[in-house]
């Protein structure tokens, strides 16, 4: 038997990505994470982590940020992704008029920069300038209005919803792309079988796009645990009120780069980053090894 020849093309396909990525992301990033093992005075082993998790000064902030982050993620999973899937499912109905218009319109917020998003939502939700209050007034719900962004109970949820508003386009587009790859004739067969509308979605389309849903879940997870900008531009690095909107990203930023009079602490910052990285890594590995390998894929 002849030996299988070495498949050089695999290396060729991987090389450019691996090289650029390793040189410009992995080396700098892991060089930075490495700082977590050091302090001003030199090598500290895992003591930075002990401080992070053991010293109430740090650990309270850490757990607060982690808890907020989990909530932030939960909202995205419960609101953003279902809406995104719903919109994609509707948009993908064959022969829907104006589909491209809707799709573009719904995607527009995703294009906006955080500066604008932060500004406009603060403007809308501001108790002062009257957009939200007067709109609620118009439907007789003025009483419901509260300065949501300023209250500890509602600020995080409000921001999460703003983020959902901004990013719903992402799951929508991914799912839409996945739905497009389902052959029309399979849908036609379903149609002949009397399977239309939602049952078509549940019984035919959804099982076929499960991998894409897996992807948006994991992207949401990763994205949320790395989120930073929206909170930073709308609530500042101190993620007010009273750290109610502090998530790991803002906590990390404050620590790593410093803020106002607080000098950056690259070592503790790197420790937080490492902790975040590990949390995300565990999530991603659970997905990659626990779920992704079990997902069936169908070729069209």
């Amino acid at each position: 038997m002849t030996k299988r020849p070495i498949r050089w093309h695999i290396a060729v396909f991987l090389a450019p990505a691996v090289l650029v990525y390793t040189a410009i992301m992995i080396i700098p990033l892991f060089g930075t994470l490495n700082l977590a093992l050091y302090g001003e005075e030199g090598f500290r082993g895992l003591r930075n982590f002990r401080t992070l998790l053991g010293d109430p000064l740090w650990s309270d902030a850490f757990w607060n940020a982690l808890g907020n982050n989990v909530w932030f993620f939960v909202i995205h999973m419960l609101v953003q992704n279902p809406i995104g899937i719903l919109l994609a499912a509707l948009l993908s109905s064959p022969r829907l008029r104006l589909a491209a218009v809707y799709r573009t319109a719904i995607f527009v917020p995703t294009i906006l920069s955080f500066v604008i998003v932060g500004f406009v939502w603060k403007l809308i939700l501001s108790p002062l300038w009257g957009i939200a209050p007067s709109m609620l007034d118009a439907v007789g719900l003025r009483g419901l209005f509260a300065p949501w962004l300023g209250q500890e109970g509602s600020a995080l949820t409000t921001l999460a919803l703003i983020s959902v508003w901004q990013f719903v386009g992402i799951p929508m587009m991914l799912i839409y792309a996945a739905l497009l790859s389902i052959p029309d004739e399979v849908l036609e067969a379903a149609e002949m079988d009397g399977i239309t509308g939602w049952s078509r979605f549940w019984k035919v389309q959804l099982p076929l796009i499960l991998p894409a849903i897996g992807i948006i879940s994991i992207l949401t997870f990763v994205g949320n645990f790395n989120a930073f900008d929206l909170i930073y531009v709308s609530q500042g690095a101190l993620a007010g009120p009273d750290f109610a909107t502090d998530i790991l990203g803002t906590f990390l930023y404050r620590t790593f780069f410093g803020f106002q009079l607080q000098l950056g602490d690259p070592h503790m910052g790197a420790a937080i980053a490492t902790a975040m990285f590990l949390i995300i890594l565990v999530g991603v590995c659970l997905y990659l090894f626990g779920i992704q390998t079990r997902l069936r894929r169908y070729q069209f």
Binding site: G150, A237, G240
Partner: protein
């Protein structure tokens, strides 16, 4: 000889036009061999961006200095050059220089540029309309607020807690020095003879807690720009301010109403008044600059009375720190600076030394001030928490 180009790192986007139109031409006229380029960064990104660039060696020649520890750290890292021997340093008082010196004052690494003074700006037209006078004591102050509240035309005071720093800087640091007696209290805190839980440190919080009722509807979500807009649109009567607002408000109000200013009211009639006259901007030299000569030439000029005049008048509300006599043209700026004569000056209590550790006293103060105003934390609790945080890393004896 090739003209050298000096690049200035700054967080003052706001001043871009002033530098390009007024200051740089004035300098270049005298030094044709030196080009100066003002390259500001958005303030929120400044520290992080500057630190990264300094570390990697791509920062500009001239560095605009934040006061106290941020710059001290750069100096200690060898990233800011020692400017103690710069001739223009003689033009500055020790107090002015203290923000950019080592703790033992042996080295000065930035030329002081400007300070900002806190106080209250008010809508004079509204006051006249309601027949109100500038308050001088706390009781008068609240009487005025009550009167405005009663009338209902205006929101008594424009302040929100969303951005937190507004509450700390324009609230706590504004009214506080009257309670802790300025420098006396600040030094005592540093030396450990006073605690944040002492009455003089808690009382400002107690006053802040009373402000809540006079702030606009939904002040919890009100941001600093919202407050500014409330005031400049004429919807609020009083704005707890920093002097920098002068150059912001004047063009925005554009004559729609008259502004006035009063210093923080004193607790009791006849008390000495204290103002926060905070050293805020300095300017130094990147130790790694390839053009140290030109940079020093430039910095020396920045220390000159000529610069002080140019700058102080171009940016009313940023008061030159130079000993030189500066005549300010803006009436409101004059009003603010006149308080230097009536009251004792001090700097913000948290800036020097006390914000070196974690938790950071300044950041904690933001949080506490906002919490106290919102009523989610009592003044005593807030003070206790701050002191506890400070104790966790700061031992005055070390000083």
């Amino acid at each position: 000889q090739e003209p050298v180009t000096l690049t200035i790192e700054s967080w003052r986007n706001d001043d871009l036009a002033i530098w390009n139109d007024v200051i740089i031409p004035a300098f270049e006229a005298q030094h044709p061999d030196i080009n100066v380029e003002f390259a500001p960064t958005a303030p929120a990104e400044y520290n992080a961006a500057l630190n990264s660039k300094l570390q990697a060696g791509s920062a500009g020649d001239i560095i605009t200095c934040r006061p106290f520890d941020a710059s001290l750290e750069l100096f200690n890292n060898g990233q800011l050059a020692d400017l103690s021997d710069l001739p223009a340093m003689a033009n500055f008082s020790d107090v002015a220089k203290s923000a950019w010196q080592t703790d033992d004052a042996s080295a000065t690494f930035c030329v002081p540029m400007a300070s900002v003074i806190h106080g209250f700006i008010y809508n004079r037209t509204a006051f006249e309309e309601l027949g109100l006078e500038e308050p001088t004591t706390v009781d008068e102050f609240f009487a005025v607020l009550d009167a405005i509240q009663e009338d209902g035309t205006y929101i008594p005071m424009a302040m929100g807690t969303n951005d937190q720093w507004e509450a700390a800087t324009m609230g706590y640091q504004n009214i506080g020095p009257n309670y802790w007696k300025g420098e006396e209290g600040r030094q005592a805190l540093i030396s450990g003879t006073q605690k944040l839980t002492d009455p003089q440190w808690v009382q400002p919080y107690e006053q802040l807690a009373r402000w809540k009722d006079y702030l606009g509807d939904g002040f919890e979500a009100q941001t600093y720009p919202d407050s500014q807009n409330l005031f400049t649109l004429g919807r609020a009567a009083i704005f707890p301010a920093g002097s920098w607002e002068i150059s912001v408000f004047t063009p925005q109000i554009a004559g729609a109403f008259e502004m006035g200013a009063f210093p923080p009211p004193v607790p009791a009639e006849g008390d000495t008044c204290y103002i926060s006259d905070h050293t805020d901007i300095g300017i130094g030299m990147n130790a790694a600059t390839p053009n140290p000569e030109a940079a020093r030439t430039f910095l020396d000029w920045v220390g000159s009375p000529e610069f002080a005049n140019l700058y102080g008048n171009a940016l009313p509300g940023f008061f030159p720190l130079s000993n030189a006599e500066v005549t300010l043209e803006d009436p409101l700026a004059q009003e603010f600076i006149s308080w230097r004569d009536e009251c004792e000056s001090t700097i913000r209590s948290t800036y020097a030394i006390l914000s070196r550790g974690t938790p950071n006293l300044e950041n904690e103060t933001w949080n506490a001030s906002a919490n106290v105003i919102r009523g989610t934390e009592t003044p005593a609790d807030a003070a206790a928490r701050l002191q506890q945080g400070l104790d966790s890393w700061y031992t005055p004896a070390q000083q």
